[in-house]
């Protein structure tokens, strides 16, 4: 996406910490021309119910993302490495073979 004309309302991603003990979670996006406006709109739109603790807004076009065309090179390296998953290993409850 090309960056919108300077000052035109841009898209901002909204992150909310819904309560203590949780990380900020992505809840959606808003359009706003400046950061204060983005924060206000995020507050009005995403906190009408509940009592969240914290709110972040991040300009959508500053999120640098992996390209979908490169999905395989990026993300297909995990499933065939069984030693990265706990099931690969003997449960702690199991005894040794020569135990008897």
């Amino acid at each position: 996406m090309s960056r919108p004309a300077e000052g035109a309302p841009a898209s901002w991603e909204v992150f909310l910490r819904p309560r203590r003990g949780l990380s900020h979670q992505h809840v959606g996006s808003v359009r706003a021309s400046d950061p204060d406006m983005a924060l206000s709109h995020a507050r009005d739109l995403y906190t009408r119910r509940g009592e969240p603790l914290s709110l972040w807004v991040v300009r959508s076009d500053t999120v640098y993302a992996a390209s979908p065309g490169e999905r395989d090179p990026f993300f297909s390296n995990a499933p065939h490495k069984p030693y990265r998953y706990p099931e690969e290993f003997v449960p702690l409850s199991e005894g040794g073979e020569g135990d008897d």
């Binding site: 000052g7 999120v63 993302a65 979908p68």
Partner: protein, 351 residues
């Protein structure tokens, strides 16, 4: 978010294009068949994208235009409690519009374009809102019946195949279900009030029942439901496509039946009469029968050329035009601020 949709995840040479399209289509269909969610940067057929944009935009526009009939009563709400309730409701509708415009924007359109299309009359909104809200009781009838119909229409969309739309709809549905209760509560208060209040409630139901039944669910898409053969066939074709793509999950007529089944006992509890002499319980079907909708009448009455329809759009356009100087000022201010701190770097948007 306005992530540029990846129209071509691969970059095929001219000769390979057809084969590549076929492969991508097959992958897309397989994803849907597994009941997986389609996400913004996935490859998707143009028809799917277009159907989604049209549906989400129409839905968003309906929320925004739908603020008008109720919004007009904010200054006249007859108690401060009801004023608060109505304010919160109209506010939710603005919020729903915004969630949905955001969802549409993930498909590579801009909200400004969608609003421009609405203002030019090129994109539609639910024609139900082209009815005038003539009395205070109308705000209750709209919430109870129109929002009630919307909930039934929309609940399945919480599982629609397109991720951002489904996520927006989950938020919308949570709030909408509670609007229906608000409307019912308002009507109940009127029915328990003076005879004049109850008469106002009945009059509102008389005027809002058919628009909800007919227009909130769209034209018949099964012949059994009383659609003429041509309309039903056309409706059925559109519904089939939308259902196959997982955008829609039930026919219009299935949803309409569900709505009638919900409302009839509620109206009985309120002591209000639904204006359809054809309503009766059908033991065999396990559903309420109801009279066929006269579609020709509706098409005639609810084209763009009713006073209220023109007024709805004119009101929306006037708000937009009157606010232009404010939006320009905000943009100029932001440009001045960002000029002051950083020169913008160009990075690709996330979807």
């Amino acid at each position: 978010m306005t992530g540029s949709p990846a129209r071509a995840a691969a970059s095929p040479g001219a000769g390979e294009e057809a084969a590549s399209q076929a492969r991508l289509t097959a992958e897309f269909e397989a994803l849907l068949a597994e009941g997986e969610t389609v996400e913004p940067r996935d490859w998707m057929p143009d028809g799917y994208r277009r159907m989604l944009i049209r549906q989400i935009a129409q839905h968003a526009h309906s929320e925004i235009i739908g603020m008008q009939p109720e919004g007009a009563w904010l200054t006249r709400a007859p108690s401060l409690h009801r004023k608060s309730v109505l304010l919160a409701k109209v506010q939710d509708e603005a919020g729903h519009g915004l969630y949905l415009y955001s969802a549409a924007e993930t498909l590579g359109v801009d909200r400004a374009e969608l609003l421009a299309a609405l203002h030019r009359g090129q994109q539609r909104y639910a024609a139900t809102f082209n009815h005038p809200a003539l009395t205070w009781a109308d705000t209750g009838a709209v919430a109870w019946l129109t929002d009630g119909a919307a909930v039934i229409n929309q609940a399945p969309l919480c599982h629609t195949s397109y991720g951002p739309y489904a996520r927006a709809m989950r938020r919308v549905c949570q709030e909408e279900a509670f609007h229906v209760r608000q409307g019912y509560d308002l009507m109940k208060a009127l029915c328990e009030g003076t005879p004049a209040q109850k008469a106002m409630a009945q009059d509102a139901v008389d005027r809002w029942w058919l628009p909800a039944v007919a227009l909130m669910f769209g034209p018949p898409d099964t012949e059994a439901a009383g659609g003429d053969a041509k309309t039903a066939a056309l409706g059925a074709a559109v519904s089939r496509r939308a259902i196959a793509w997982g955008i829609k999950r039930h026919t219009n007529d299935e949803l309409r039946q569900r709505f009638v089944d919900h409302c009839v006992p509620q109206a009985e509890r309120l002591g209000l009469t639904l204006p359809d002499p054809g309503i009766r319980w059908n033991e065999e079907r396990g559903h309420y029968d109801f009279g066929p909708v006269d579609w020709e009448l509706y098409r005639g009455a609810l084209g763009d050329d009713t006073h209220t329809a023109r007024q709805r759009l004119a009101h929306r356009v006037a708000a937009h035009e009157d606010g232009a100087w404010v939006r320009e000022a905000a943009a100029a201010y932001a440009a001045r601020q960002s000029g002051a701190d950083t020169a913008g770097t160009s990075t690709e948007a996330v979807a």
